[in-house]
């Protein structure tokens, strides 16, 4: 079984993103870029399934500009067998991303697709669900545990009410939550090895994807700031302050 992993490059989670003064976007020049943390978890899960003998090949795929190749090399260094790079200089919205990934599915025929539940840049949390719908296959979102046997995935999902377990027939789309696993670190020799692994570039236009970029971002603004609070010196003062505000 092949596993296709969505592997997006985003602004590193440690960067405190700033809105440009003119509201045209956020500052990305000179900012550290990393794999979307949920996608690292997706890749780790795929690698573990391969190590357990449940998968034969792990393919990482990204949709992004030409310089995203280095990012895909990281995925290869982590352990993916090969990489697919759909090259486009403009960012795509989730529906377009899902339609693009569907083209890759048609080409590769994976038995399982694992994506992060959301990318920490646009925080949309849509692509996996949209892909499953377009593919007419099951989705198991927000996964914290995945067990595969007899072509069925039993997935525990982190939902608001607790932990939900569902069974989905493969092929299916799984999206990862934080506690599914802890991604491995990349070792230096693997970075060298990754340089010779296959990385296929595909021109976005050549896929003939119907654009789903229907939303126009009109402006960016910094979030409303909370006014500076007060410090109290002990428990009694805190209780008094809460009583003054009518909260106790």
């Amino acid at each position: 079984m092949k596993i296709l992993v969505g592997y997006k490059r985003v602004v590193d989670f440690n960067v405190r993103v700033q809105v440009k003064p003119d509201g045209s976007g956020v500052v990305t020049e000179g900012v550290k870029l990393s794999a979307n943390p949920f996608d690292d978890i997706a890749l780790e899960e795929a690698l573990r399934l391969r190590e357990k003998g449940l998968a034969t090949e792990v393919i990482v795929a990204t949709i992004g500009p030409a310089d995203a190749q280095a990012h895909l090399r990281n995925g290869l260094a982590m352990g993916a067998n090969r990489a697919l790079h759909v090259v486009t200089s403009t960012a795509v919205q989730p529906l377009t991303a899902a339609r693009t990934l569907l083209k890759l599915i048609e080409k590769e025929q994976p038995g399982l697709v694992i994506l992060g539940k959301q990318a920490i840049d646009d925080d949309s949390n849509q692509t996996g669900q949209m892909l499953a719908a377009l593919w007419n296959r099951p989705q198991a979102t927000f996964a914290s545990k995945v067990e595969i046997a007899n072509n069925v995935a039993r997935v525990t999902r982190e939902v608001d009410a607790g932990l939900e377990t569902i069974e989905v027939d493969l092929p299916a789309v799984i999206t990862t939550d934080l506690r599914l696993n802890e991604p491995r670190f990349i070792k230096l020799p693997d970075i060298m090895k990754a340089k010779s692994k296959p990385l296929e570039t595909i021109d976005f236009a050549s896929l003939g994807v119907e654009s789903g970029d229907h939303l126009k971002t009109v402006s960016h603004a910094p979030p409303a700031k909370r006014s500076k609070g007060v410090m109290v010196k002990d428990a009694a003062e805190l209780v008094a302050a809460l009583k003054t505000k009518g909260l106790l």
């Binding site: 920490i120 949209m130 932990l163 939900e164 377990t165 069974e167 971002t217 909260l247």
Partner: protein
């Protein structure tokens, strides 16, 4: 002319307040009609609850044994089929229920989704947070196609009951339902405490609490206040408490009147989950912790000493 279809969220025969929060958001579009759709095995009780919400034109029900559990693959084609009956918008709450099902509906309809509406500009323009709330964008959706959206529930109070109950109407759709996705079980933490997402008071603990055993201190203090209990990602990752208590970018987004953060440093990913709280209290031994930048009231000190003192002072 806009008609909004809201997908009701419910569990164990009870309507979730997230549905009435969606109604509040939907009313801001000044639509011609707001209808609520209840999918369930036996939807009557939930439908009756939904019918009371002020501002609803009618409640539609889709009764089907296959709808006993909220499986996105099963719900989505039915929601999409109902939406095609003249609706301009489909709304769902931005809870794990809505996040799971709404994009599947949007893709079936071939339209975009706006996630996490926090403010309505007009019927097709909305504000939503990106980068864990470090930026707020205004997005414009095309007026000539249906729009699917999820509503950031912490941004909207729940609509109250109206003077008259809306009519309830059973509908039929002819779509083939998949069998490839099956519900197995839901493990729910048993608790008598208030629900984290709708509680007016929340006490949260972080890594500073130190262990699962120590978290008893947080639970006891919360009970004293009649508060729900939350946690930072660090506390959940460390195994102190289950994942359904996590507050933040990838956990629950909440807006209690009073939020007390104990032993939480205040990573941006956590702060985005509480920015709509009325009053934020921070208790941390590190006076430089970022949580104090957003706290309305801060207290520096050892939580294991301060909490008993607080309990004493409350008596």
């Amino acid at each position: 002319m806009s008609r909004i279809l809201i997908v009701a969220e419910h569990l164990n025969g009870k309507l979730n307040s997230s549905t009435a929060r969606c109604v509040t958001c939907a009313r801001e579009l000044k639509p011609d009609a707001i209808d609520v759709l209840v999918l369930a095995e036996a939807p009557d009780a939930v439908a009756a609850e939904a019918a009371k919400i002020d501002g609803i034109a009618k409640v539609l029900t889709l009764a089907n044994a296959a709808n006993a559990h909220a499986l996105a693959a099963t719900y989505a084609p039915q929601i999409a089929a109902v939406a095609k009956n003249g609706y301009s918008h489909v709304f769902a709450p931005s809870t794990t229920f809505g996040k799971d099902v709404a994009p599947r509906v949007a893709a079936l309809l071939g339209v975009a989704q706006v996630s996490d509406i926090m403010k309505v500009i007009d019927a097709h323009a909305f504000q939503r947070p990106i980068y864990a709330g470090n930026a707020i964008i205004t997005v414009q959706a095309p007026a000539d196609q249906m729009l699917v959206a999820t509503v950031r529930t912490a941004s909207y109070a729940a609509a109250g009951d109206g003077p008259n109950a809306a009519p309830v109407e059973a509908v039929n759709v002819s779509v083939e339902l998949p069998t490839h996705t099956r519900f197995v079980e839901l493990a729910q933490g048993k608790t008598d405490r208030p629900d984290l997402q709708s509680a007016s008071r929340v006490v949260s603990g972080g890594r500073g609490v130190g262990s699962a055993e120590n978290f008893a201190v947080i639970f006891k203090f919360a009970d004293k206040l009649g508060a729900a209990v939350g946690a930072s990602r660090a506390a959940v990752d460390a195994g102190y408490v289950p994942s359904d208590l996590q507050v933040g970018q990838t956990g629950k987004i909440i807006a209690p009147e009073l939020y007390i953060a104990i032993g939480i440093s205040g990573a941006i990913q956590h702060l985005t989950g509480i920015k709509d709280a009325g009053t934020i209290v921070a208790i941390n031994k590190d006076g430089e912790a970022p949580i104090f930048e957003v706290a309305d009231i801060g207290l520096v000190g050892d939580l294991f000493k301060l909490i008993p003192e607080l309990e004493q002072a409350l008596n």
